[in-house]
């Protein structure tokens, strides 16, 4: 029982980390709080579903197509909407929120809700640890989480593009003087964030079903993780997803599943009271605090 809770808490933390990392990346690099993040997650899931079931394209190919389309949508969103309100965080918030809302409510209106709207699991098997059944899909997510974190770290520290990303995150104008096109890089960061949303959707959706309300859920969870960890900090995301993941699983086991949301809410409020810029938000503390 206890061992099972620990295992599932670990896997749950990995799921949360995968959900939040895209949002965090976009915010950390370009300072755009992408409130359409949940919508991108759902958009890519529905796209894969439609390609797979309506056009009957092989699963691997349909995942790739939906990934690319979602990244394209993110880039277009930056190019045509966000570019015009860049530097006014509040307009950015309203614009992305509007886009996300429009996408999610459109799917809601079209009535894509039900158990048949789900993606197939990659490996439909599980194994036993002690008395706990663990399915491979969750293990895959955990592996993907580790791989993503390591990959993003390597990408931002050792490639030219990644260094440009970090450059505009630190100081946009100085980056501009060094020949980094900040608009292009910011567009790529938004697009990459949306791509990560799509990737997490293909990994996580097989555990449940696709529904528009899932989009809000994902956005809320990503926000909760990022607020607790400190916006724009990757180590913060990892620690915060462990905090929330463990807290959720343990309340689920020892209290009741209704209380899981309340635990994250309480965690957010407590962290904000004690350390307003999040657990690892030290670097940007001066700018974000008044």
């Amino acid at each position: 029982m206890f061992l099972g809770t620990i295992i599932y808490a670990l896997l749950n933390s990995a799921i949360l980390a995968v959900m939040a990392i895209g949002f965090n990346l976009t915010f950390g690099i370009s300072g755009v709080a992408n409130f359409a993040y949940g919508a991108m997650y759902i958009l890519s899931a529905y796209l894969s579903w439609m390609l797979l079931n309506l056009l009957e394209i092989p699963y691997g190919l349909s995942i790739c197509v939906s990934l690319l389309v979602t990244m394209g949508v993110g880039a277009l969103m930056y190019r045509f909407v966000l570019l015009r309100v860049r530097g006014q965080p509040l307009s950015e918030v309203i614009a992305t929120f509007g886009i996300g809302l429009a996408i999610l409510e459109l799917f809601h209106y079209l009535g894509f809700v039900g158990f048949e709207y789900t993606l197939p699991v990659l490996i439909d098997e599980g194994f036993l640890i002690g008395e706990t059944m663990v399915d491979w899909q969750r293990v895959l997510i955990a592996a993907a989480a580790g791989f993503l974190v390591a990959g993003l770290w390597a990408f931002t520290h050792h490639t030219r593009l990644g260094l440009a990303f970090r450059g505009i995150a630190q100081d946009e104008r100085t980056a501009l003087t060094l020949g980094i096109d900040s608009d292009r890089i910011a567009m790529l960061s938004v697009s990459l964030g949306c791509g990560l949303a799509a990737l997490s959707a293909t990994l996580i959706i097989p555990l449940g079903s696709i529904s528009p309300s899932e989009g809000y859920e994902v956005l809320i969870k990503a926000l909760a993780v990022c607020i607790i960890g400190g916006l724009g900090s990757t180590s913060g995301v990892i620690v915060a997803s462990f905090v929330i993941g463990f807290a959720e699983r343990f309340t689920d086991t020892y209290l009741s599943s209704h209380w899981t949301m309340i635990v994250s809410l309480a965690a957010i409020l407590v962290v904000l009271v004690v350390k307003p810029s999040g657990l690892f938000g030290r670097q940007k503390e001066l700018e974000e605090r008044i």
């Binding site: 929120f97 009741s256 209380w259």
Partner: protein
């Protein structure tokens, strides 16, 4: 004189006279126009103090539940429960958001987005205040005309009163916090305290709107935290023109009847609101009100020279 008076008198007269000529159905629409206008004004007050809320439903819902509980459980008269819920809802809303005030920028928006959605879960989980079924059988206000003119009075009072407030030194401080909070701090003003006050004002107005709606529908339940109450006020304020409370009211006057007319398309309405938001933020960020105001003042006009 008329040149300056007309833009102010026409809405006042319209709000006072319209209830008399409208049919019963459109009177209800008129009520929701006024309620959403109040919510939009409350959003605008927060926005002018540099806090962008994505969850007006929080204030609306808190007010609605306070009034509902006071009336249903403690048997208070609606006219007593209404002001009590306004203050109580405002107070709870302020306390909920107090931890976020120390941060600027998107933090406030994120937390306001999260809290109403989580409060729904809390009501669902703990089954307090009627749980998923909500509280029904709440007493309505004594008469229909009192209902109509109460909300019109509150709306006009809020519109012109808070406009005056923003033109006073106090409002200047609030606008200063939005533009550059560090220089306001430099002037020896406690930014948090002023933000708290603005938050209390805004959440009280939102709570009043919620409490009022509770007594109109004679019901309070989880739908009061729905996304409609968050998104429509933002859409109204953005379409009408953020930064002037009149713009927010104008937006509500345009959008709410429009959404009534579009009732047939159901859930697609929210899609339209989302698109409206994006189009206006990108193409006409000043909003309709500022645009019309500018054009109005550009008209050539005859002025008698003394």
């Amino acid at each position: 004189m008329l040149y300056l008076l007309a833009p102010r008198l026409i809405p006042i007269l319209a709000f006072l006279l319209l209830p008399l000529v409208l049919g019963t159905y459109w009177q209800k629409v008129f009520l929701s126009v006024a309620v959403f206008a109040l919510l939009a004004i409350s959003w605008d007050i927060l926005a002018q103090s540099g806090m962008i809320s994505l969850g007006q439903a929080l204030f609306f819902g808190l007010g609605a539940y306070c009034s509902g509980v006071l009336n249903h459980t403690f048997g208070w008269h609606p006219l007593l429960a209404l002001p009590a819920a306004t203050l109580l809802g405002g107070l709870i809303g302020t306390v909920c958001l107090l931890p976020v005030l120390r941060l600027r920028g998107v933090y406030f928006s994120m937390v306001t987005l999260i809290i109403p959605l989580m409060l729904v879960r809390i009501v669902e989980a703990t089954k307090i205040f009627g749980g998923t079924e909500g509280l029904s059988g709440i007493a309505p206000l004594p008469s229909k005309w009192l209902e109509l003119y109460l909300i019109v009075g509150v709306l006009l009072g809020a519109l012109f009163g808070f406009r005056r407030m923003f033109n006073s030194d106090y409002g200047l401080v609030l606008k200063g916090i939005k533009d550059n909070d560090r220089s306001v701090t430099n002037a020896g003003i406690n930014v948090y305290w002023f933000k708290t006050q603005a938050l209390f004002i805004a959440s009280s107005i939102g709570a009043l709107a919620g409490a009022f709606m509770t007594h109109v529908y004679m019901f309070v339940g989880m739908p009061v935290f729905a996304l409609d109450y968050s998104i429509l006020p933002i859409a109204a304020a953005v379409v009408g023109g953020p930064g002037t409370l009149a713009g927010a009211t104008l937006g509500a006057v345009i959008l709410v009847p429009l959404s009534e007319a579009l009732r047939g398309i159901g859930g697609l309405r929210i899609v339209f609101y989302g698109c409206f938001l994006v189009v206006f933020i990108v193409a006409l960020p000043e909003g309709i009100f500022h645009y019309v105001q500018r054009k109005y003042h550009q008209f050539e006009r005859w002025v008698e020279v003394e």
